[in-house]
């Protein structure tokens, strides 16, 4: 069974890194996985997307993801700019950085105030809260696609020392605070 | 850099674009001349400037510290005569 995930964010928020870390965690669990950015000229602040596939069998396909099982939205304002649920499967899941249900959709939606968590933990670069690791905690809570332990292990392998600790804590807190909305 | 490469002859028909420099690979070029350089030993100081400029490597150093010409390969361009600061080389017509 293959799960396809699409991340929406703004350039600089870490959507590509989120896809990479998710795939690192899946590989740590012995699963097959692919993470790839949207292939364009990305720039800071502009809406960006990144993709991931996770499967229990080797993944042969290399085409783009048009009908994701899960959509993760890193920025609350993106909902006004992009139709984030385009192509999302009917039985899919939407995971949003939002205090309340961000849009009226017929899919299971999970909310977390990731911006607040990232700010609390001082995960801020050039004034911007970096919410990617927080949203991974929310994604795990919403889908159980990989374990929280694997996500934390993947985070710590990519970021050492205090930075790794803060990002791991962000994932943990989001896992606790994420709820269906 | 550690151990050097191992040279090994290929087992298939193999021919590489290699050559080694050797004198006269297209025959003796001295026959191309229409005039030849002649060295006046009394004026030559052995400064070897002609040797430096000769494009064909045909200036020879003699045992008494002067220069001589390798007429087998000298094409008679006259550069040696032109650069000699002591006017010790003259070009003499051969035709």
């Amino acid at each position: 069974m293959m799960i396809e995930i699409r991340f929406h964010g703004r350039g600089g928020q870490g959507a590509v890194t989120a896809a990479n870390l998710l795939v690192d965690a899946a590989i740590l669990e012995g699963k097959y996985a692919q993470a790839f950015p949207h292939f364009g000229a990305e720039r800071r602040g502009a809406p960006v997307v990144a993709f991931a596939r996770i499967s229990d069998k080797p993944i042969q396909v290399h085409s783009q993801i048009t009908n994701p099982d899960i959509v993760v939205v890193l920025d609350p304002k993106i909902f006004e700019l992009v139709n984030v649920v385009e192509g999302l499967k009917n039985n899919g899941i939407l995971v949003a950085n939002s205090r309340d249900k961000p849009i009226e959709v017929n899919v299971k939606t999970y909310c977390v105030n990731a911006t607040k968590i990232a700010k609390d933990l001082n995960l801020v670069i050039s004034g911007w809260p970096v919410v990617n690791t927080t949203m991974l905690g929310a994604l795990v809570k919403a889908s159980e696609i990989v374990s929280l332990d694997s996500i934390i292990e993947a985070i710590k392998r990519s970021f050492s020392g205090k930075l790794g600790e803060a990002n791991a804590e962000a994932a943990r807190r989001a896992y606790m605070e994420t709820r269906e909305c | 850099m550690g151990q050097g490469p191992i040279l090994q002859a290929p087992e298939t028909f193999f021919i590489a674009p290699l050559s080694r420099p050797a004198p006269g690979s297209v025959g003796k070029t001295g026959s191309w001349r229409t005039s030849k350089p002649v060295v006046y030993e009394d004026k030559c100081t052995g400064c070897m400037l002609c040797w430096l400029y000769c494009p064909e490597n045909t200036i020879l150093k003699t045992s008494n510290g002067k220069v001589a010409i390798d007429y087998d390969y000298c094409k008679g361009c006259g550069i040696c005569a032109a650069v000699c600061p002591f006017k010790a080389i003259d070009m003499v017509s051969e035709v």
Partner: protein, 407 residues
């Protein structure tokens, strides 16, 4: 040991590290990739004992590693698209010299207009240069093929440089699980550097001086013979690599569902994976479709394709490149090969996915199905060029609309 999560670019870098390459050269700006970025980090932190030579152009990058290889060092460079075209002259010189060398090519579309996405126009542009040219499907194969390239290039039956192609972004920037072999195992398997001659003050050789026309002709013949020998060596290395590292790919082509196939799809690169998934779906619909993925475009897998052509009803070739005014390059080679059975096999060439336009399993399935219907309706179908135009632009009116917008 768990698999590493690596992009295709990093998979190349690890293979180069494991081969204990001594000299790397690159022009460090676009279209250079993170291959040499990773390698320079490896050199900096002591994981790789090599000299990193930064130069001002790709032409110089290949000339530098070519010089180092001529002098006896195992050497490597990487490039992509326009960088590859810029070094094209030296590509010929390196092959003609018969000095073993390895280069990774991240395959990308050629401008104008500027484009950073995958197609195979750049690597097929090198087809006739005398380099062995492999194209991988997955990041794991990228690592394995690069590592094998050193052994292949340095085999005395071959002595030709090897190019390893990996699809831009689809492999180069995509993370996937990769098994990175242990250094000790690689050291046992990969012999020390071998080469036919060394350029040095002592050897006093000159490479590339004028030779009589007849001798030049013989050198081309000799290179062709080495290519033929490389077919055997590629298969040998693939087999022994499987015994040591547990992965074999089948030599010059990798066949999926081919055994009893009525129709064979011929394809190369990462989108072969989508074609394989399509072939599985077509099997469920009762169509016996196999996929022959070309792993090496040079030497050309003539014998393998002759065999497949002799028992298939139809061959469908997918090209991610086009010789404008001619055919897709894979198609041309397949057509040349299939004529050996008198042109009895139905043959169709499809031009698709240029400039990175996405072609997924569903599109493959639809395209292959409609071609099979043509073949079955008429008993025979021959079409060298079918254009699989991007979705929504398949009518002339739509194309004109786009053309006006971009005028």
């Amino acid at each position: 040991m768990p698999l590493m999560s690596l992009t295709g670019n990093y998979a190349v870098a690890h293979a180069v590290r494991l081969a204990r390459v001594k000299v790397i050269s690159a022009y460090p700006i676009t279209p250079q990739t993170t291959i040499v970025e990773k390698l320079s980090a490896m050199v900096e932190n002591g994981e790789l004992d090599a000299k990193m030579v930064r130069v001002e152009s790709e032409h110089s990058a290949l000339a530098t590693v070519f010089g180092a290889a001529s002098a006896g060092a195992r050497a490597f460079t990487a490039t992509s698209s326009h960088g590859l075209l810029y070094m094209h002259e030296v590509v010929w010189w390196a092959a003609g010299s018969r000095i073993p060398l390895v280069m990774a090519v991240v395959t990308r579309a050629i401008g104008p207009p500027w484009n950073i996405h995958v197609d195979h126009q750049d690597i097929f542009d090198q087809r006739d240069t005398g380099w062995i040219i492999g194209i991988a499907q997955e990041n794991q194969e990228v690592l394995d093929m690069t590592l094998q390239a050193f052994k292949l290039s340095e085999d005395p039956r071959v002595y030709l440089p090897v190019m390893v192609g990996l699809d831009g972004f689809i492999l180069s920037h995509t993370r996937a699980p990769v098994d990175v072999p242990e250094q000790e195992l690689v050291d046992e398997w990969l012999p020390p550097r071998r080469q036919p001659y060394v350029i040095s003050p002592e050897s006093n050789y000159v490479m590339g001086n004028i030779a009589p026309d007849e001798v030049h002709f013989l050198m081309r013949y000799s290179m062709h013979e080495a290519m033929e020998a490389a077919k055997t060596v590629i298969k040998e290395i693939d087999k022994e690599y499987g015994e040591v590292f547990g992965r074999s790919y089948g030599g010059l082509i990798e066949c999926h569902n081919c055994d009893d196939a009525d129709y064979i799809v011929v394809i190369t690169g990462s989108w072969s994976g989508d074609a394989k998934v399509a072939s599985d779906m077509l099997r469920e619909n009762g169509y016996k479709v196999g996929v022959a993925r070309i792993r090496y475009i040079r030497p050309w897998p003539k014998e393998e394709l002759e065999e497949l052509g002799s028992r298939a009803k139809g061959i469908i070739v997918f090209d991610r490149a086009i010789s404008m005014g001619g055919y897709g390059p894979l198609y041309s080679d397949v057509a040349g090969t299939l004529y050996s059975n008198g042109g009895k096999t139905s043959l169709v060439g499809v031009i698709a996915g240029l400039a990175g336009v996405d072609v997924g399993a569903e599109t493959f399935k639809e395209t292959i199905t409609s071609i099979i219907h043509k073949i079955e309706e008429n008993g025979f179908f021959f079409e060298p060029r079918l254009w699989l135009l991007p979705k929504d632009y398949s009518s002339r009116e739509k194309m004109l609309e786009v053309a006006k917008r971009w005028l």
